[in-house]
């Protein structure tokens, strides 16, 4: 899932300082699961902002809401409606960066501020600890490395083995970071496929990754239906 972390509240406070009616919107997707931006966090942020406004003698209304996911048009519709009907002057999104973008695109003249710092795609290593596991490079090569990603989990994204800077399985940059290649070697040993690493992985085509530009995925089968629906509604009107 996408793992994010709440921004420091003093930073958030500065974003929304001049706005009279702020709506804090949570997300019921990844943000909830990584304890960063769900209903509970919305309550905490809302409460903190109201306490701060009270303490500083500022007039500021802080409203709260949460949607199933902030990356779907149908789910954010209720927010758009609410913004209009209740005269909201600024939005604070507690979704990942996607949610912030998505709302911002749909709210022409109302600013949307990020309440979270979106970190990475990751999984739960243990309760309360999430680690990065995927870099979204667009062309998965995990069949070559025992399922463990050198792009995301090697600090240098090396593709042909460990650099030699690791110590006891930890990366040279920090003892808290596992050496991705140590993990790969270990795993492939257990799979009995270590000799596959002798094969040289040539310089990679990065154009499928963010380096190639913002990406897009299309499912034509669903698209057609949408187009049909458009045709139908056009025909009906």
């Amino acid at each position: 899932m996408i793992v994010a972390e709440r921004k420091p509240l003093d930073e958030i406070k500065r974003f929304i300082e001049g706005f009279e009616r702020v709506l804090v919107v949570g997300c019921g997707g990844c943000a909830t699961v990584c304890l960063a931006g769900g209903e509970a966090e919305v309550k905490i942020v809302g409460s903190a902002l109201r306490i701060a406004a009270r303490k500083e003698g500022r007039r500021q209304e802080v409203l709260e809401d949460c949607v199933t996911r902030q990356c779907e048009p149908e789910f954010v519709e209720q927010i758009l409606v609410r913004v209009k009907e209740e005269g909201v002057t600024a939005l604070l999104s507690l979704a990942c960066g996607v949610g912030v973008n998505f709302l911002a695109e749909r709210l022409g003249d109302i600013p949307v501020f990020p309440g979270l710092n979106t970190k990475f795609f990751g999984a739960t290593a243990e309760p309360g600890v999430w680690v990065e596991m995927c870099a979204g490079c667009g062309n998965c090569m995990l069949h070559l490395t025992g399922g463990i990603c050198p792009v995301a989990r090697c600090s240098k994204s090396l593709l042909n083995g460990p650099c030699g800077g690791s110590t006891d399985g930890k990366c040279e940059i920090s003892p808290d970071v596992d050496c991705g290649w140590a993990l790969i070697v270990e795993r492939m040993k257990r799979l009995g496929t270590l000799d596959q690493l002798a094969e040289i992985t040539p310089a990679r085509d990065w154009s499928s990754s963010p380096h190639g530009g913002p990406r897009r995925v299309v499912r034509e089968d669903l698209r057609e239906l949408a187009a049909e629906a458009e045709e139908n509604s056009a025909a009906a009107s």
């Binding site: 997707g29 699961v33 209903e39």
Partner: protein, 691 residues
């Protein structure tokens, strides 16, 4: 929510009148003793009596038995009664008669008086006819005073009479007035005459001087007299009446008292605790012996010959004792008391067309509670056979419903003999292992030899501290967590947090109610705010806060604290009532929470939104918490809340976390004082910084 039918706590289900004992316990903890009394009396007009002598099927079904011992629900009930004497008197109000119809009740025992109570409250006129000088039935005439003091019985009876029930004592139906007259004068008649006669035996020597029947003997003892039982008394019988007789015999000076009964020790129908107490009082048991003959000399009892009983019940489970006539024994005795069963006194039927039925009882329909005559109903032991006091009350309620229906519609009402309710499932082994065992609070009894010196009550009620300590052991069955599936995202946080391994997630989370201990730790951390507790939802805290803080003046220089305190550390009601003036005076608004471990970060922050300067959380004493890991989890959440304050420019220390020392009454006031001083310093510092 569960898609199943709502299940009830097993104590409620087991009680013949379905008293919500779980809620009673919750009210005790909350300090709402008066509300507890109201709920008890609503279910059972004989609450005082049952608080002394009920056989507590609720305790037998208490799920806590797998962990350590069942809750002392009877004693807790007694505590409620003893703690609300003034309120009880105040709440007495006569009921306005709104119906034309009158009902006659024959017999002022618990069954009849319960029916009278219900019918008067439904607006009917009710007259109760009692043959004896006092109301109460067996409760007043044959239950020994060391178990049930008379004034306790009067508490219940006086409540009932105060509603407007008319009572005519020394008026025996079938002698002073006929059943037919009642049928003419009243719209319905209820026969509730009980089983007031003792059965006798046709064995040789039964007419000897010194052979007595149990019920008349007990009546005489309770009336203030007694019968000379001599040095050695033998009681024939193994039920509660036999036990009562034996224990009274000891108190009347019999040095040797033996109970001989057909049943084997484990089969004895008397309540087990009664038998234990009897043994403590020096009574001997002779189980599996039946009476063969009473021995006498010069017409006076000298002993009793017994024959071995090899079996009491036959293959069909019917009472059908079998004996080995060759195995006999003899017990020397100065008196022999027969406590072998009760029979009905059907004098009231004299001259009426209401028919008697088989076995010396009435002709009776168990579903409609009707007799052979229209408009004449029966309830209590006279129709059900021998039963406990609370069962009589249950039957009285049934009768009132039947009669009210009859008076409303002219039709009889079919009711199941007992309302079956679905109970929550059993406590699984793996959950049992995780629950902290706590010994049951017991009230010490005086030793048996001391007790038999007189008829004074052998048991005292709980002190307030004892009651509150025992009430804490309640697992609050059925009030656990439930999940809003719309909001739940299956994040597994509740699964990881739950100290009892209750929560599971397939698509969304579920907390099987038979496992959930209602600790609230999952709800406190659910990131989707999808979990609520049926027992104590912290959502209500905010309403309490708004109310409490509305009085306080936020701009004043004095300090305003909201203190979340652990309810379980209180040994009295001292801190349990809301007093808004007190808040204005002391600057401390208390919110009592059953385990502060259930407070979420928003809960801790909310007071600041409503004008509080500080939050003071008082948890239980170190290592005392009912719920494993709750102390650490709360600590982590307090740290989180402090960080939030720091991030918006307030001192994190505005949130204080204390551990109770000894008890609430001993330590909390000092904590508030310390918090107040600390906050005053912080406020002064901030003002200085602002300048």
């Amino acid at each position: 929510m569960d898609i199943d039918v709502e299940r009830e706590a097993p104590c409620l289900v087991a009680c013949p009148v379905h008293t919500d004992t779980r809620l009673m316990v919750e009210h005790i903890l909350e300090g709402r003793y008066e509300d507890a009394l109201d709920l008890l009396l609503e279910a059972n007009p004989f609450t005082s009596v049952c608080g002394r002598i009920c056989h507590h099927p609720c305790e037998e079904s208490c799920r806590r038995v797998k962990v350590d011992a069942p809750l002392g629900l009877r004693q807790l009930k007694r505590f409620v009664v003893e703690a609300t004497t003034d309120y009880r008197l105040r709440r007495r109000t006569p009921i306005e008669r709104t119906r034309r119809e009158k009902v006659a009740v024959v017999g002022a025992g618990p069954a009849g008086l319960t029916a009278a109570h219900d019918l008067v409250r439904a607006g009917f006129g009710v007259t109760v006819f009692e043959a004896g000088p006092e109301p109460g039935g067996m409760l007043g005439t044959t239950i020994p005073r060391y178990r049930l003091p008379y004034e306790v019985l009067r508490e219940d009876i006086d409540d009932i009479l105060a509603l407007g029930v008319e009572l005519r004592t020394e008026c025996a139906v079938g002698r002073d007035i006929s059943l037919e007259e009642l049928r003419r004068e009243f719209s319905a008649t209820l026969i509730a005459t009980g089983l007031s006669e003792s059965r006798t035996l046709g064995v040789p020597g039964i007419d000897s001087h010194g052979v007595l029947l149990a019920l008349p003997l007990l009546r005489a003892i309770l009336a203030g007299g007694g019968a000379p039982l001599g040095e050695r008394a033998v009681v024939i019988g193994g039920g509660n009446v036999a036990i009562d007789v034996a224990r009274c015999a000891r108190r009347l000076g019999a040095a040797e008292v033996t109970m001989a009964c057909l049943e084997a020790r484990e089969e004895m129908p008397a309540w087990e605790w009664e038998t234990e107490e009897a043994l403590e009082e020096g009574i001997e048991l002779a189980p599996s012996w039946g009476p063969k003959a009473v021995l006498s000399a010069e017409g006076r009892v000298t002993g009793v010959e017994l024959k071995q009983c090899v079996r009491v019940f036959d293959e069909e489970g019917k009472f059908n004792p079998a004996f080995d006539e060759a195995e006999t024994t003899t017990l020397a005795a100065d008196s022999v008391v027969l406590a072998i069963g009760q029979a009905a006194d059907l004098t009231c039927l004299k001259g009426s067309s209401v028919k008697a039925g088989p076995g010396g009882r009435l002709e009776y329909d168990a579903e409609t509670m009707g007799t052979s005559e229209r408009g004449v109903f029966a309830c209590g032991e006279v129709s059900t056979g021998p039963g406990a006091a609370v069962e009589a009350v249950a039957d009285g309620h049934r009768a009132a419903r039947a009669i009210a229906h009859f008076l409303d519609t002219g039709e009889v009402l079919k009711q199941p003999p007992r309302e079956e309710l679905p109970a929550i499932g059993e406590l699984p082994e793996e959950t049992v292992e995780l629950i902290k065992a706590r010994p049951r609070v017991e009230v010490a009894r005086a030793p048996g030899e001391t007790r038999v010196e007189d008829f004074s009550e052998i048991e005292r009620g709980f002190t307030e501290a004892e009651a509150r300590a025992e009430a804490q052991r309640c697992m609050a069955c059925t009030t656990g967590a439930f999940v809003d599936e719309e909001r739940c995202v299956g994040c597994l946080t509740c699964v990881r947090i739950c100290p009892f391994g209750v929560a599971t997630v397939t698509k969304t989370a579920a907390m099987p109610e038979e496992k959930c201990q209602a600790c609230g730790l999952c709800a406190a951390v659910c990131p989707a705010a999808a979990i609520a507790l049926k027992r104590y939802g912290t959502e209500r805290i905010e309403e309490d806060l708004k109310r409490l803080l509305s009085e306080a003046d936020a701009s004043s220089s004095s300090v305003l604290i909201v203190s979340f305190c652990c309810l379980f550390e209180t040994t009295s009601r001292k801190f349990l009532d809301e007093n808004r003036e007190e808040v204005a005076e002391t600057g401390v608004a208390r919110v009592l929470v059953p385990c502060v471990g259930r407070l979420s970060v928003p809960d801790i922050l909310a007071p600041f939104e409503h004008g509080a300067d500080g939050v003071c959380i008082i948890a239980c004493a170190e290592g005392e918490c009912l719920y494993p890991t709750a102390e650490e989890r709360l600590g982590a959440r307090v740290e989180q809340a402090r960080r939030v304050l720091e991030e918006i420019g307030l001192h994190g220390d505005r949130i204080a976390l204390w551990r109770t020392q000894e008890s609430a009454e001993v330590s909390w006031t000092a904590f508030w004082e310390m918090s107040r001083r600390h906050l005053a310093l912080i406020k002064a510092e901030e003002q200085k910084e602002a300048q």
